[in-house]
Symmetry: C2
DNA sequence: GTATTTATGTAACAAATGTTACGAATTAAA
DNA sequence: TTTAATTCGTAACATTTGTTACATAAATAC
């Protein structure tokens, strides 16, 4: 077990734990380490999930496999990553996809009861676990906000207002090409260009080279909320 | 404090706690109860959040207030609900919006440290807290999946495939009007009609009254993944 | 059964966005 | 400075979805 100290030390769950305490934890906690060859099925979609997995070596994916044969990768994890942490405490705790090893893999499995014991006995672990889940929620909230933007104009307004807050100025400096910006917004570059020009013609913004100037902040907000 | 026993008993955090234990918890935990009149600002956007709030009475909203004066309600909470639970453990723990009372309100505030102590001493509370966060993550994941569907056809395919799984039959019985279904999908009813007819003409489905028959499951999946 | 109300299909048109192609402008390299 | 490469604006056309209006079908009420 000590051979994985370095990986576990970097695992988000144990990051706030001091080295001697980590050793103690490793000695006390009830876990099992399983090795998988490449392309092994670690767990099937719909199977009960009552352990978290910490990847000690290798790489895995959670895949959605359709009856048509198509496979979509939902998530990918490597050494030091945890999977299953949001599932074990949920009401219906089943895997949302098939867990597959992409290379020779070693996984440390911790049963839910062991996780609970760990959290109770080691407050840094409890906090880290809560933080892991909380940061995930905040990240998902952000993504939903972005995905909820309907029109190209709304996406541009959202972007500009966020940058205005970040850069603390109506003069926004772009750190990427318009093509890349369009990609991040999930739209086509010529469409982005078209809408930017329209907004300039309407007097909301001006732009030149790597800069966009906000000329009508209020109208940007109103367009965002439409 | 005992006067709020009924509300707290129904609070998701204490639902798995037995009555005598709940009394003990209430006596031991360090908390403060604050009363607010209607339309009072409980916390401002960007303010530090290091307490969770449990609503004992009344109703609050988290609002996004724009400089243009417009207000968007992000979330609403009533007696028994908890707010801030995903924030206190996050890296940057500030309120994402302004917390406002919509009526005369009493809130029980629990500092992060008290929450940690509670979780350590009462495993049912720990589990409930984890479950709260976990269920939220699963719900947000689901919402992202739905919001990621681009075209009307993809939305229909997704819906039909989910119902196929639920109803275990290619004969899908609709439990709502097509107008309501369109609303849930975030599209217009005539547009839904149009696409359903197109899909029928292409041989993917058939429909009559309250039933849709899946005729080409494989093609539905392929359309979903485009 | 009849009358009324609601749901649905459908057509026509409008609006928004994607796609393709190419020239102009800008940036990078020699 | 010149040349090459990349980025961007723009036009034309295609596709998708929204919107409006109205007729028909289905469901509900009496």
């Amino acid at each position: 077990m000590n051979q994985y100290l370095a990986v576990l030390k970097n695992c988000t769950l144990f990051r706030e734990v001091n080295p001697s305490e980590l050793k103690e934890i490793l000695n006390r906690m009830k876990s099992k380490i399983v090795s998988y060859p490449t392309e092994a099925i670690i767990a099937g979609e719909g199977e009960n999930c009552d352990h978290i997995g910490i990847i000690l070596a290798g790489e895995i994916e959670i895949q959605k496999i359709y009856s048509s044969g198509k496979t979509v990768t939902m998530a990918r994890f490597q050494a030091g990553n945890i999977f299953g942490e949001a599932i074990i405490f949920s009401k219906q705790h089943f895997y949302p996809g098939t867990v597959v090893s992409r290379s020779a893999t070693k996984i440390l499995f911790l049963h839910k009861t062991a996780v609970i014991a760990l959290c109770r006995n080691y407050p840094p672990v409890l906090e880290s676990f809560m933080k892991l889940l909380s940061e995930r929620i905040l990240m998902l909230n952000k993504k939903i906000t972005e995905l909820s933007l309907g029109t190209i104009r709304q996406k541009i307004c959202f972007f500009l207002l966020e940058e205005y807050k970040k850069q603390k100025s109506p003069l926004i400096k772009l750190t990427m090409s318009k093509e890349t910006l369009a990609e991040h917004m999930g739209i086509q570059r010529p469409s982005l260009s078209r809408e930017l020009i329209k907004m300039r013609e309407e007097g909301l913004i001006d732009f030149k080279k790597k800069y966009i100037t906000i000329k009508n902040l209020k109208q940007l907000e109103e367009s965002l909320l439409e």
